[in-house]
Amino acid sequence: MSAIQDSLRPAGVQAAQIYDLWLLMLVVCTIVFAAVFGAFVMALWRAPRATERTAPDVAAISSQEPKSLLAVSIGLIVSAVGLIALIIASVLTDRALAALPLKDGLVIEVTARQWWWDIVYDDHEPSRIFRTANELHIPVGRPVVIKLKSSDVIHSFWVPNLHGKKDLIPGHTSLIQLRADQPGVYRGQCAEFCGHQHAKMAFLVIAHEPQDFERWAQSQRQPAKEPEGELQKRGREVFLSSPCIMCHRIDGTVAQGRQAPDLTHLASRRTIAAGTLPNTRGNLGGWILDPQSTKPGVMMPPVALAAADLQALLAYLESLH
């Protein structure tokens, strides 16, 4: 999964504005550093050498040293002006970030959990609401309003290519607005330390052309595909009679768990385990049998399955497009 996660390659208007501010800051700060460093080196260069024996220059105590005074004052004034300029630039950028037009914005609700992302696509029409996990699909060019909640500890929602961070804090609902301007797959990651698997709490943001997005959303609204063939049928039985059912949900079956990622369309996702592993048969099987060695501390327990049962289960899960 070669998804980029890089604040220096903005793919959305918000990230672009911040990137411009970064460039400005970088230039100004480089100039300042060059100036200070130059003066510093110059001072070392021109000052005569001495030893402990050299008699101290006590004259400096009484004299006002107007030259130095002038130089320091100028330096101070220049710094003050520069800083004020940067403050203004920063505040303006901040305003611009808040000023994203949200007309016909797409509303998505993201709930962070240790250590994955529960995603609900809201809609005024209840039948059109659907749920997925760890993979955020958005239409290019259309503003997206994301409601951020946490169900346990503090997490932080961060997709560097699209926007800066926003913390998800239990007891608070925060909002982040962003807009992707070029199609692509962008990686996001939790940016607030949240426990054992803070390192492996990632997700993908996939920016589609609007019509592709609609197609995707339509498919996600469907209940899970009925199993075809004995193997898949058996696989569903395995799913419903094993620990999976306690936490996971597959729409259209009795599995209605809310504690773990919704698997209704598992096969349509690119990764499993919150952006940790590519969604392949091998990874999926290994993950089910022994999630703890991939993600030590993850809430998912190891599930002991007979080889045949596992094959059936995988067949079923892979049918959930």
């Binding site: 911040i18 300042v32 800066g164």
Partner: protein, 645 residues
Amino acid sequence: MAAARARVPRSAPAIEADGDLHARLSRAWGREGGVAGWFSDIDHKTSGVRFIVTAFGFFVAGGILAALMRLQLSRPENTLIGPDLYNQIFTMHGTTMMFLFAVPMMLGVGVYIVPLMVGARNIAFPRMVAFAYWVFLFGGLMLYTAFFFNAGPDAGWFSYTPLAGPEFTPGKRSDFWAQLITYTEVSALLVSIALITTIFKLRAPGMTINRMPHFVWAMLVTSFVVVFAMPAVMFASTSLITDRLVGTHFFNPAEGGDALLWQHLFWFFGHPEVYLIFLPALGMISMIIGTFSRRPVFGYPGLVIAQIATGFFSFGLWVHHMFATQLPEVGKAFFTAASLLIALPTALQIFCWIATLWTGRLNFKTPLLFVLAFFVILVIGGLTGIMLGSVALDLQIHDTYFVVAHLHYVLIGGAVFPLFGAFYYWFPKITGRMLSETLGRWNFWLFFVGFNVTFFPMHNLGLQGMPRRVYTYPADMGWNVLNAIASVGAAMIAVSMLLFVVNVAVSYRRGARAGANPWSASSLEWATPSPPPPYNFAAIPVLGGREPLWEEKGIAGRVEGLDVDTPMALVTTLVDAKPDHRSIQPTPTPWPFLSAVALTMFFVGSIFSPWAVVWLSIPVTIAVTIWFWPREQETQEHLALERRP
């Protein structure tokens, strides 16, 4: 001493006592030999050295933890250290460096140097300072004992709730963290009171407030920052531990508490914390630059005002650690402005120092080298700090490796490099021997290069999206090379630290004799032999100028009339340091040590049972009472010398 006399400038020979006076003063200010005497020692020089050595020990421990982290992160998908241990390690690293190294180290240097600099014979409240040392030591030992038994805190040095709260950190890990905070804060607060009092009331006659050396000013401002900042984290950690142990709801949103309350309380301390590590370093820089450019530092009033301003404004920008939380626009603008404008006082000081170097005659010895590194590293750290102070930009780089780079540039460049300069500068005063210049230069260059190799790449890592506090990272993120480079740099730093330890070990025995004033510096601590006798000064000097050992009339005279057989201090007036009264100082006693033991039982006990707060307060009370209860014979001696106001 022959060497000494030769090195000291004509104008000011060391203030030394002849045999008989030396013996009597030593009896009055010294301590008994033997183990009991060792535990009873209340000399500020002893306490100072103990603080410095212990804090350095914790610095090494924290460094080893850092090395382990760099080892784990040297390549992607590394399984050397699992998340559980890694989280404990980075939490211990941060906690150690902040609470067990930086603050106690700076205060320890202050405890040793400030009384000498102001021409006092001991620090004010010496028993309290000894007590503060033991409390600090036991706190650190408790934390590391817990760590070795797998009970090391693992919620970060900032212990954000709810992660550090009762639901998400079961067991006792966070309780040990919270209690460690209480230890170290008690210690730091007591030392600060002692320093403030020493600086205000125990200055030698003639050292008017506008003649105080820069380091004294720095420690004064630092102490005030401690007094008003540290209670915040103590209060916060107390609330955390009551949440965990007795079920209070300060940080429980379901019952009207709030996780953000923790962040406000913590950063109200946490930001000034940075400056109270930084401020003493500014003082050290001024002293060293003055001495090694052979002239008084340019712009005394400017530097003093800058230090006060820094200390004052440091309370106005804690929210810039919380920009990613939901904040009102106005607040954001205000805290952006505050966070950027605090750069001005620092800029002013840097300009003054450059002016000093420009017009001075430079003596390129190791202490100066370490201080010059400040001008490269701290300036970079300060500039990245400006970036982080801007709300918009912070949203991208907050909690990434960019911040890791920034804070190490500020803390190591701003505090640790000057601190090592101070080690090389004051080691001769403390031990009477010089550190090796050759090893010193190797130590410096390895540290300087290694530091930049380690931390400069982290700026890029952060911008390229690598978050902080991750125990591993995927192989296909493009972070591998820079992480590997950083780990190599860490190794270089480790070697340079090893060289320093060797240098100290060797020089302590075989270093060249220093004499009273090896650098022919101007401040008062150089007017007494190295190492200074228990009583510091045979006669309290009377100052005639700001640069006592440089100016012709720098030391205008001496004080007489202080009893030489009892520890009697001269107390002067606050502003113009006129002799005011004589104060008989406390004598050595083991009770500060024993009280610290009792307090340790109290703190550790309270982690396991709230009732310990009741029962274990009894031994504390008893110990403290015996500590304060006056002894008959001493009282008789005092009565003999007593003179009513």
